[in-house]
């Protein structure tokens, strides 16, 4: 598939307040495929670009359930089925003694699901990304705030999108080559 020559139009702002306001206006102007970049988590920014819900909690819940159930099942199978061992007359299925490992396995699986689930949903690791080619984008991890309109957006138009972004009074605008 032939890629479009530009990846998107990137506007630079110098404060989180300006970025959130600009993101709101861009989203309200009907642009759907937009994203924002900031050096720290900015409150309300995800909502401003129209991203309201993420699936990390669901992944963690599933991971935790798998961990806890498999932890308990493993202990039951080992202690009561595969290798029943009479220790001081305790029942083979001595469930109170199995709670600790069940708990630890729940935490382990849920925690690893949180980390790997977050990375996977974010599409990381991704060593190369077109936005890194933008000249001032290195400041996105320091003190600058960026808003991008992707060229895949149906409303995207090289001239009119630039005019729209200029109306948001950014510090700079650049076209990101793909």
């Amino acid at each position: 598939m032939k890629r479009p020559p530009t990846y998107g139009m990137l506007a630079e702002f110098d404060s989180p307040t300006a970025l959130v306001a600009a993101a709101h206006r861009t989203h309200e102007a009907g642009y759907q495929k937009i994203d924002a970049y900031s050096p720290f988590p900015v409150e309300g920014l995800a909502e401003a670009i129209g991203f309201h819900k993420n699936n990390v909690p669901l992944v963690v819940l599933i991971g935790g359930l798998i961990g806890g159930l498999s932890g308990y099942a493993m202990q039951y199978w080992i202690s009561a089925v595969s290798y029943p061992l009479n220790v001081g007359g305790k029942p083979y299925h001595s469930w109170p003694a199995f709670i600790v490992v069940t708990f630890e396995m729940t935490i382990l699986f849920a925690g690893l699901s949180a980390v790997f689930g977050m990375l996977a949903l974010n599409g990381l690791p991704m060593p190369y990304h077109p936005v890194f080619n933008a000249p001032r984008f290195a400041f996105a991890t320091k003190d600058r705030f960026f808003l991008i309109v992707f060229s895949s957006d149906p409303k995207y138009d090289g001239v009119r999108t630039r005019q729209f972004l200029e109306s948001l009074t950014p510090k700079s605008i650049s076209e990101v080559p793909s």
Binding site: G44, V100, G111, V115, N122, T141
Partner: protein, 456 residues
């Protein structure tokens, strides 16, 4: 009241001195790693602790050749320095998780400047702790038998044993601490990737940052994951020292068989952990000029946490002594008598002085902000907490039910070399950490600045 307006009220020292911007915070912290020349004293310090680490490896190598007999352990004292040190190190690790997880859930934003190196401290402390049970098992090359895996022998671990619970608790704790620390680092690694002038540093930090670009969608999921991890790590950290205390409390040895152990162990863990945080942060803030980020407020708050947990520990001692008398059990009563008058009585009085008496100076507000005083008190507490574990492990085992089986424990030079060696390994790892990774979370410091607030 939120943190920023509280600062404006000027009641307490701020968590970050005024006048910083997003850029200057970034530059100041990343410069320690990227541009500041490595000083001779860093090489000397790292070199010394590296040699001490080598001494530990020598002691462990000799142990593998000759066996556990080179240590002072014997019958009746089968758990000597190895278990004392294990419990001590695991406890120290707890403060890191407390700071990064529990204080995050409690929205204590002062944690942001100390959580990164407290988490690193947790990792290195748990790594130091993990060495001891491994080398104490007698045949360490078979240590993997502790994990449930299908083997041709057809046998499995015994899940009714607290020692197996401990394997799961400590390995889960290490894993979760590691990933928690690492995902906290990702945005800062991206900052270092973008700031670095050196090509290799850019490549290495870039690989570790995994292409982080600070997208709003990414931050949204990131914050959710981080919060959930904090929520998971909170019960985890409380469970770990609880399970460690089960190793003792489920036994019938007088002095071990008590229900106060779980809360008292957890409080003691946080007590010693904060002492280690202070012992590390006081020299670090001085040497790297970070007094603006690790302010008097942090010292004061850490001292208050130590004071509170120290009182819980003191309550544990009182209950132990009370139950020794109130239970009417002659063996419990004798354990108390043996602590007060037995051959190791000196260490029990030292323990009371270090953990209960001396830390009471922290009630004085002026002393809580004097770095030197805090440094000394923290050192005293670390010694005291080590003595506590010595009293619990050695003095309880030394004289149990039958006086025909009484004995004494004398540590050998190998015991000391291994113990001091782990301190060297821990500090050598800290030296490497402050040199190659940002020791303060840069992106979380940015959120503390007044400009970070989105105005409507």
């Amino acid at each position: 009241m939120d943190e920023r307006s509280e600062q404006a009220g000027g009641k307490q020292a701020p968590v970050i001195e005024p006048g910083y911007t997003f850029g200057s915070v970034t530059d100041k912290i990343s410069a320690i790693v990227l541009t500041r020349p490595t000083s001779t004293s860093w090489f000397v310090g790292f070199g010394v602790f590296f040699l001490i680490t080598m001494m530990m490896l020598y002691a462990i190598g000799y142990l593998f050749v000759r066996g556990i007999g080179i240590w002072g352990v014997n019958i009746p004292v089968g758990w000597g320095f190895a278990i004392v040190n294990f419990v001590w190190w695991i406890g120290i690790g707890h403060a890191g998780t407390l700071i990064s997880a529990i204080l995050l859930l409690l929205r204590q934003s002062w944690r942001n400047s100390i959580n990164r190196f407290a988490e690193a401290m947790t990792l290195f402390a748990v790594a130091s702790a993990g060495i001891f049970p491994l080398i104490h098992v007698g045949r360490p090359w078979l240590a993997y038998w502790m994990f449930p895996y299908p083997s041709t022998m057809g046998i499995w671990p015994q899940f009714r044993s607290p020692l197996v619970w401990d394997v799961f608790a400590v390995s889960t704790y290490f894993t979760i601490s590691l990933v928690f620390w690492f995902i906290g680092l990702i945005p800062d690694l991206a900052t270092l990737r973008d700031r670095s002038e050196n090509r290799w540093a850019r490549i290495i930090y870039g690989m570790l940052a995994m292409g982080w670009r600070g997208s709003a969608r990414h931050w949204f999921r990131y914050e959710t994951a981080y919060l959930l991890l904090a929520g998971l790590a909170t019960p985890l950290v409380l469970s770990v020292h609880t399970v460690v205390s089960f190793d003792f409390a489920t036994g019938i040895v007088p002095g071990w068989h008590t229900t106060i152990f779980p809360p008292y162990f957890v409080a003691g863990a946080i007590y010693s952990g904060f002492a280690m945080v202070l012992m590390l942060s006081i020299p670090i803030r001085k040497i790297y000029g970070l007094e603006d980020f690790i302010t008097e407020r942090h010292l004061d708050n850490s001292a208050k946490v130590m004071l509170a947990t120290g009182l819980i520990v003191a309550y544990g001692y009182v209950i132990e002594a009370f139950m020794g008398w109130y239970s009417g059990n002659r063996y419990d009563a004798f354990t108390l008598w043996n602590r007060l008058h037995g051959p190791y009585a000196f260490f029990y009085y030292m323990l009371l002085a270090c953990n209960i008496v001396i830390p009471q100076v922290l009630w004085i507000r002026k002393l809580r902000t004097k770095p030197l005083v805090l440094f000394v008190v923290a050192g005293v507490i670390l010694v005291g907490m080590w003595l506590e574990r010595f009293i619990i492990v050695v003095v309880s085992l030394q004289r149990d039910f039958l006086n025909s089986s009484w004995g004494m424990f004398y540590p050998t030079r190998w015991d000391w070399m291994t113990y001091i060696g782990t301190i060297g390994m821990f500090l050598a790892a800290m030296f490497l950490f402050v040199r190659i990774l940002p020791m303060i979370s840069i992106f979380e410091m940015r959120t503390l600045l007044p400009e970070a607030e989105v105005k409507e």
